[in-house]
């Protein structure tokens, strides 16, 4: 009970910090807050408090997850008038979902995917085309975005299965470049001008209207936060279930040593296909939601550089660790938006950060914990 109380207090402190960061306007205040966060992180790393904390979170997983969802919901409610802050929160949530998909491919199965943004784009373009041309309910369109992304992935399956390591990398890199060029020259999909999406509607709820329930008023972004949060919870649950099951075990075996796994009777191809397809589905759904939220998509949203950002999130946070990548996503999205002075330098900064991480702490911020094969009593 005592540890639970401490956990609640800690979460409240972190949520308050994020709220402060989102609301702060002056650059010096933001810089001060960020310096504080870096110092705190450093202290945590050096005093080795991070691992017991992570361990405690794992031991009380349901509680930790519920706490996380509650804190995001609370944050959104407190920020209900601030359009831009809510937009940022939703973007972070969507990126986390997309990176969770990437994590299944990369972190669990070891299938390298440098075209994450392209599958994100497939979801977005599917949503745009279906929303404009048909009257399908938008919830179905979100799912359709995922399905189309998964189907697109099958095109690359044969080359990916037959190659290893850097050869496989080349395939997804080539696809990432090809995809963007294809979108740009293709007028049927809007060309460089992109496509606009109308308002998103789920049942009677219209997503471009502000929220008004009795005396409670809020920005229309609240609705997107809600949907993104639901999506995140589902994706998170899916990914964790996957990891904990024998599917996850098989994926790990395939990632660590393909030949050993094959000699143990695992069908390597089948597991790689499964991971790649599931991952792309999740990425596609996230892409569809993102398209609805911004209301506009263009080929430039889905470049190779964007794919590299997704991969950076994974590397910074710790490959294979969903919590780590959530933290990294928040950092990657929020910091450049608030700290205006580094807006221009953000690609440089993240690339340098990733290089340093790969050189000095390749496991990332929150490394993936060892697989627990025996239940530990609380």
């Amino acid at each position: 009970m005592r540890s639970r109380g401490a956990a609640v207090a800690l979460t409240a402190a972190v949520t308050a910090f994020v709220w402060g960061l989102l609301r702060a306007e002056s650059q010096s205040a933001i810089a001060a807050l960020l310096a504080l966060a870096v110092a705190a992180g450093f202290v945590l790393l050096k005093t080795r408090w991070l691992d017991p904390l992570a361990g405690a979170a794992l031991a009380n997983e349901r509680f930790a997850q519920g706490l996380a969802v509650a804190s995001v919901a609370a944050l959104a409610l407190v920020l209900r008038d601030d359009d831009f802050a809510l937009l940022l929160v939703t973007r972070v949530l969507i990126v986390i979902v997309a990176c969770l998909g990437l994590n299944v491919q990369f972190g669990y199965a070891g299938v390298v995917n440098f075209a994450g943004a392209s599958f994100f784009g497939v979801g977005g373009y599917t949503a745009a085309v279906l929303a404009r041309a048909t009257g399908l309910p938008h919830v179905l369109i979100l799912l359709a975005g995922g399905v189309t992304a998964a189907l697109t992935g099958t095109v690359l399956l044969l080359p990916i299965l037959r190659t290893r390591g850097h050869y496989a990398a080349l395939i997804t890199i080539a696809f990432a470049l090809l995809f963007r060029t294809f979108l740009e020259v293709n007028d049927a999909l809007g060309g460089p001008q992109g496509l606009k999406l109308g308002e998103m509607r789920i049942g009677p709820i219209r997503f471009n209207d502000p929220v008004g329930i009795g005396p409670f008023e809020g920005s229309f972004y609240l609705k997107y936060v809600a949907v993104a949060l639901i999506l995140l919870a589902l994706a998170f649950a899916l990914v964790l279930r996957l990891e904990r099951s024998w599917i996850g075990l098989a994926l790990d075996a395939v990632r660590i040593d393909e030949i050993a796994a094959a000699s143990f009777g695992l069908d390597v191809a089948r597991w790689k296909i499964a991971a790649f397809t599931i991952g792309n589905f999740v990425i596609g759904v996230a892409g569809a939601l993102s398209a609805f939220m911004i209301g506009f998509i263009a080929p430039n949203n889905y470049t190779f550089a964007e794919s590299l950002i997704f991969v950076s999130v994974l590397l910074l946070g710790g490959i294979g660790n969903p919590w780590g990548l959530s933290l990294a996503a928040a950092i990657v999205i929020l910091v450049p938006e608030k700290l205006q002075v580094i807006q221009e330098y953000r690609f440089l900064m993240f690339a340098t950060l990733v290089v340093l991480v790969l050189l000095f702490r390749p496991v990332g911020l929150l490394p993936r914990p060892l697989r627990r094969l025996v239940e530990r009593s609380p």
Binding site: L87, T181, G295
Partner: protein, 381 residues
């Protein structure tokens, strides 16, 4: 005693800061191939804000929030969302790149942010929608292409090949030029669409060379305009280069050097010195010491900012009231002439200027030695 002194100081500073600060946004391409024009526009808007802040009679203190749309629609929508969702921003002076302006109209409408376009020329920006938020002080590309087509026909260019970029901007130029040129009896030999960031035009130019055109019409912006002209030379394609407002800036000439000589272009609006308020504008601009010149659309950005601030002075920092006020703009004096917004928020700019590159500068056709017959265009006309 000390308390009184402190109180009086506080009172004094309070009264000095009695004016509320109002924020308006400026959006343009500040980085990338069109940055010269974007920076010129930004400086001009900044000039307008500074002059207004120095005016004691102004009711508000203005703060210019500068945003970079990178001439890319996705970045444009992002910064438009930023400006729109920021309740402190009450209006915007927006966009030079038509691609971006087209993409962002829905965003501004969604947030109800009144904006005045200062440099994008695609007609659809104001005419393809019924959004009350969107206005424009500069002209559209229809008139400039009409004048362009007429000029080419009159000067004996009957067979023209067309290269245009595949954005709505380039496609719009292609559509209007082709329409008017064919009406004048001209013949379009071939039309090629290229991407706005294409590197290599040897495929297109090789095919064009095989057709022996008298001129090459280019509907697009400076970055690829420079590449096309340079690669024309590499392939030995000696034909007249005819462009649009997209290449009327110093970067085009700087990048090409002597190759730029003799290139033609057309733009709506008179050059800055010939505008009604132009001389004063240029003098003020010089005094501020900006490191970039205002370029072709600076005066329009200035006029747009002034118009926006005038509306704010009248109605206060309220987006809805500003939109209502901007509807009533009729025959308003400005440095670019009289501004009237029609029912789609579009101003009409009657004058079309014809330009030719002479000795490393964009010179109006009438003032050039080509018109006087002292020099001949590359194809001898």
């Amino acid at each position: 005693m000390r308390l009184a002194a402190a109180a009086s100081i506080a009172l004094l500073s309070f009264s000095a800061a009695a004016k509320d600060t109002v924020r308006i946004a400026f959006v343009g391409p500040l980085t990338g191939g069109n940055s010269a024009i974007g920076l010129g526009g930004r400086n001009s808007a900044d000039l307008a804000v500074r002059l207004r802040n120095g005016d004691a009679k102004a009711k508000y203190q203005y703060d210019l929030v500068v945003l970079d749309d990178e001439c890319k629609p996705d970045a444009g929508v992002q910064v438009a969302t930023k400006a729109g969702s920021d309740r402190g921003v009450v209006g915007g002076v927006t966009h030079y790149c038509s691609v971006v302006a087209m993409a962002t109209v829905d965003t501004y409408h969604r947030f109800g942010l009144p904006v005045i376009v200062w440099g994008a020329v695609l007609p659809d920006i104001t005419y393809a929608n019924d959004f009350k938020e969107i206005h424009r002080v500069n002209g559209t590309m229809i008139n400039q292409n009409q004048t362009n087509a007429k000029f080419m026909a009159e000067h004996g260019f009957k067979k023209v090949a067309v290269i245009h970029d595949t954005t709505d901007y380039g496609k719009g130029h292609n559509k209007y030029f082709t329409q008017f040129f064919q009406k004048e009896g001209g013949q379009i030999l071939s039309t090629f669409g290229v991407t706005a960031d294409q590197q290599d035009f040897t495929a297109e130019l090789t095919q064009i060379k095989a057709q022996n055109p008298e001129a090459l019409y280019f509907g697009g912006l400076t970055p690829i305009g420079v590449r096309i002209r340079a690669q024309m030379d590499k392939l030995g394609l000696k034909t007249q280069f005819d462009g649009t407002s997209g290449i009327v800036n110093d970067d085009f000439i700087k990048a090409l050097g002597p190759l730029a000589e003799g290139a033609l272009a057309f733009r709506e609006g008179a050059p800055a010195e010939k505008l009604p308020g132009g001389k004063q504008f240029l003098a003020d601009y010089q005094k501020q010491g900006y490191s970039n010149p205002p370029e072709a659309y600076g005066p329009f950005a200035y006029a747009a900012a002034v118009l926006l601030m005038d509306a704010i002075e009248k109605t206060g920092p309220d987006r809805k009231k500003i939109i209502a006020e901007l509807k009533n703009v009729k025959d308003r004096d400005s440095i670019v002439g009289k501004i009237t917004f029609d029912d789609h928020g579009q101003n009409t700019v009657p004058a079309i200027t014809r330009y030719v590159v002479q000795d490393g500068k964009w010179v109006t056709w009438e003032d050039s030695e080509y018109a006087a017959g002292k020099r001949k265009l590359p194809t001898g006309k």
